[in-house]
């Protein structure tokens, strides 16, 4: 029989207001095995922890039950406390009487009764606890960053600066991401390329950073400190080590009408291309969907003009396997498709564009060389209407329920830049709310209104109707004037909602990292652990976790890097001792457990057993590798003979909890 101490926390009034803590500790004191029970205002505080430590010493406790907040909150704290006075940390159980009791019940009698039951279940479990020793596992001193936008770049550079090897996997032919497509950045209006491209170059020059461009992660195995990742390098039909990036091939290729994705299809590129002048790596890529040589075996012009001999039509996809200690997800975002918002006639008129398209139309390296011209006829627009929240804050099922966060600011930026460059242009912005929290953000927006004379109208556009003469009729509401407006515009710019990249969902499954219903990665704690996934060793950087602007993305990227560095400097990680183990005397070698184990942690060994009649018998029994086992318990249920059990959550422990809950 254990000697158990019970400690009931008030959590200030969080628990004590709805649970009679005195009654709980008094009642639990009478439970078999309990030699000491008390309650205290804040068990997690230093004096609370000392109370526990002193009791362990004074009463020679062999088991501890803490009735407090969720074990997800403070189990680790309390385990550390009891370990400091020599008690095995796994001889402690937490009864959750805050999140799962005091906070959800109003009736004090009922809540107290439930708290007592939960305490009893924990006591019953602790009776059967056994001391466990955490194992150790080494940490591979290398990090993987998935996604090479500004988030991935910043994370990688920070990790490299701390002296660790880091690989970036980017599915496009170049790193740079969305920021490379953007013209100017708010609220300072400095040019995106001027601040991004030096960082891209740094990535290519830093010998700790390795870029796998035009590549994808195809499988992830292992666990924190020791992941094994397969990376598929897609065939680009150009030898990366030979190509000098001279660009000769991209001017000679006869396939001229390939939509240029970097300019969002506003102009064309060739079948062999370098996405943009500052691409990193600056290596050409052949688009197999358009290349005549790859499709029909005819042409071969690029190979002829390439003086470096870099063209290789026979190149194959290549799969590389690499080991990492930590993985950072930085998969970013895309604007949503607008097929459900055709009241804005995006598909009917070329002059109805998305904000990202407008970035390209205003960029000096864009299809118009930086002069704002209508895509339809190349004329100067004189009236431009911006529509905010296209698909954001939309619960109708057509769009996204969340606020995309960046649109208010970039629209103010666009409006301001247009008014500055083309003062003869009237700019209207239709908004539902203008949301500008952020340093110098509201000042920026007000500048657009007060200094640049942008017309901000509280209301929404309901219908966009292009006319044959090229004008676009915009029908909108002006809620403050209480009238319906009909504006004759030359261009309409839609602030499309942003959504996580489509590659994020399958990646999350590979990483067993959780996602919310919008396919944003969830963080381990929304306030206190915002850059970590609940899955150990997986970190989050940038918009893959939620909408963010560039300053926020960069801060989060650096924060994720700091967390990765913290992990990589650790010599050894302690492993979870709550793993499966096999009672070899009961095992009949059936392999059921081996088949259900998702980690391949179970193998079979031939072992000699001494029989009662003193003969020996060679038997095949299961053996669990505790370094690989993650403790899910699938094998324990699959085992037909009951040989397999899970430390910390044994059959008898859970059964004891069931009994305690169903008692009376």
């Amino acid at each position: 029989m254990q000697k158990i101490g019970v400690f009931v926390c008030w959590c200030g009034s969080n628990i004590a207001a709805t649970v009679d803590v005195q009654a709980v500790s008094d009642t639990l004191a009478k439970e078999p095995g309990v030699v000491y029970a008390t309650n205290y205002q804040y068990m997690c505080s230093e004096s609370g922890q000392n109370l526990i430590k002193d009791a362990i010493k004074q009463y020679g406790l062999t088991g501890v039950v803490i009735c407090s907040c969720s074990p997800r909150m403070h189990e680790a704290t309390f385990r550390k406390a009891v370990a400091s006075v020599g008690l095995n940390p796994y001889m402690l159980e937490v009864a959750n009487i805050r999140e799962q009791c005091s906070w959800i019940h109003k009736d004090k009698a009922l809540a107290t009764e439930k708290a007592i039951t939960l305490g009893r279940a924990a006591i019953a479990k602790v009776q059967l606890n056994a001391p466990l020793q955490a194992g150790e596992s080494p940490v591979v001193k290398r990090a993987l960053v998935i996604g090479g936008g500004i988030a991935g770049i910043q994370t990688a550079l920070d990790i490299a600066e701390a002296g660790f090897e880091v690989d970036i996997v980017e599915k496009q032919p170049t790193i740079g991401g969305k920021m490379a497509q953007i013209d100017k950045t708010f609220p300072t209006l400095d040019c995106a390329a001027c601040i991004l491209t030096p960082k891209m170059v740094e990535c290519s020059q830093n010998d700790k950073v390795h870029i796998y461009s035009y590549s994808e992660v195809t499988s992830v195995k292992g666990f924190v400190g020791n992941f094994t990742v397969s990376i598929k390098k897609k065939a680009r039909y150009v030898a990366e080590n030979k190509c000098t990036g001279c660009g000769e091939c991209t001017t000679k290729c006869p396939m001229k009408n390939v939509p240029n994705e970097f300019n969002l299809g506003l102009d064309n590129r060739r079948a062999i291309y370098i996405p943009f002048a500052q691409a990193v790596p600056k290596v050409a890529t052949i688009d197999p969907n358009y290349c005549n040589m790859l499709k029909n075996g005819k042409c071969g012009l690029c190979a002829k003009v390439c003086t470096a001999g870099a063209i290789d039509y026979k190149q194959q996809d290549q799969v590389i396997e690499e080991r990492y200690g930590a993985i950072v997800v930085a998969t970013g975002y895309n604007p949503i498709k607008l097929d459900k918002f055709e009241e804005f006639d995006y598909s009917l008129s070329k002059d109805v564009v998305t904000s990202l398209e407008l970035e390209r139309l205003m960029n000096a390296a864009g299809p118009t060389g930086g002069t704002l011209l209508r895509p339809s006829d190349g004329t100067h627009p004189h009236t431009i209407v911006f529509v905010q929240c296209v698909g954001s804050r939309d619960t109708s099922g057509c769009g996204k329920p969340y606020c995309s966060k960046i649109c208010c600011m970039y629209t103010a930026k666009h409006a301001m830049l247009i008014r500055e460059k083309y003062p003869d242009t009237e700019v209207y912005v239709f908004y539902i709310d203008v949301r500008t929290p952020g340093k110098n953000f509201d000042e920026f927006y007000r500048r657009a209104v007060e200094q640049y004379g942008v017309h901000y109208i509280k209301g929404m556009v309901g219908k966009v109707a292009p006319r044959a003469d090229g004008k676009i009729m915009v029908q909108a509401s002006d809620l403050l004037a209480n009238e319906q407006l009909h504006i004759e515009a030359d261009m309409v710019v839609l602030a499309a909602a942003i959504e996580p990249d489509k590659s994020a969902r399958p990646l999350a499954t590979m990483l067993t990292a959780s996602m919310d219903t919008n396919d944003f990665f969830t963080e381990a704690h929304p306030k206190l652990r915002p850059v970590e996934s609940p899955t150990a060793g997986i970190f989050l950087s940038g918009v893959c976790q939620g909408p963010k602007d560039i300053p926020e993305t960069v801060s989060q990227a650096s924060a994720a890097a700091a967390k990765v560095i913290g992990l990589l400097v650790t010599a050894k990680l302690t492993t979870n001792p709550c793993v499966a183990h096999c009672n070899e005397l009961m095992c009949n070698g059936c392999s059921s457990c081996e088949r259900v184990c998702p980690y391949g942690a179970i193998t079979y060994v031939e072992k000699e057993f001494r029989m009662p009649d003193r003969t020996t018998q060679l038997r095949r029994v299961a053996s669990v590798n505790p370094a690989v086992c993650q403790g899910c318990g699938a094998c324990t249920v699959a085992c037909p003979s009951g040989a397999m059990d899970l430390n910390g959550f044994s059959n008898s422990q859970i059964m004891a909890e069931v009994d305690a809950i169903c008692q009376k």
Binding site: C389, M460, V461, G462, K463, Q475, S477, L479, Q484
Partner: protein, 129 residues
């Protein structure tokens, strides 16, 4: 403010005006906007505030074309047209409040013999109990 009326309108329409985020897209898209004294977004807000009687007395409720543009385009799934219909029914279900009377029909047909039956039955359904 008449809470009974508000409740009646909410029950009949099945609409929750609290879902409205006041974007005004309903009013931006409404083809009858100019004919209305109270516009779709105001109607939603007035229902929320319980000002049903004001709306019942307004000619606006007979101007809705039931074209469902506001229903289709509302980003919050508020369905303003259903509110208009509920308010109109709250009026015409009262005795003697039919907006279109059976005796008016012959005049309408006489005025335009081409008028399709569809127009008459629809108007009758919308305006008459």
């Amino acid at each position: 403010m008449n809470n009974n009326l508000k409740e009646q309108v909410l029950r009949m329409s099945g609409v929750n005006p609290l879902k409205c985020m006041r974007c005004g897209k309903c009013s931006a898209t409404c083809p009858s906007y100019d004919e209305m004294e109270y516009h779709p977004h105001q109607i939603v807000y007035m229902v929320e505030k319980g000002e049903i009687e004001k709306l019942m007395a307004s000619p606006s409720i007979y101007k809705c074309l039931s074209c469902f543009a506001c229903v289709e385009r509302c980003p919050r799934d508020v369905e303003p047209a259903k509110l208009v219909e509920a308010i109109r029914l709250a009026v015409i279900r009262q005795q003697g409040q039919n907006h279109l009377k059976a005796k008016d029909i012959p005049d309408l047909i006489e005025a335009d013999p081409d008028l399709p039956q569809q127009a008459l039955v629809t108007a009758f359904r919308k305006y008459t109990k």
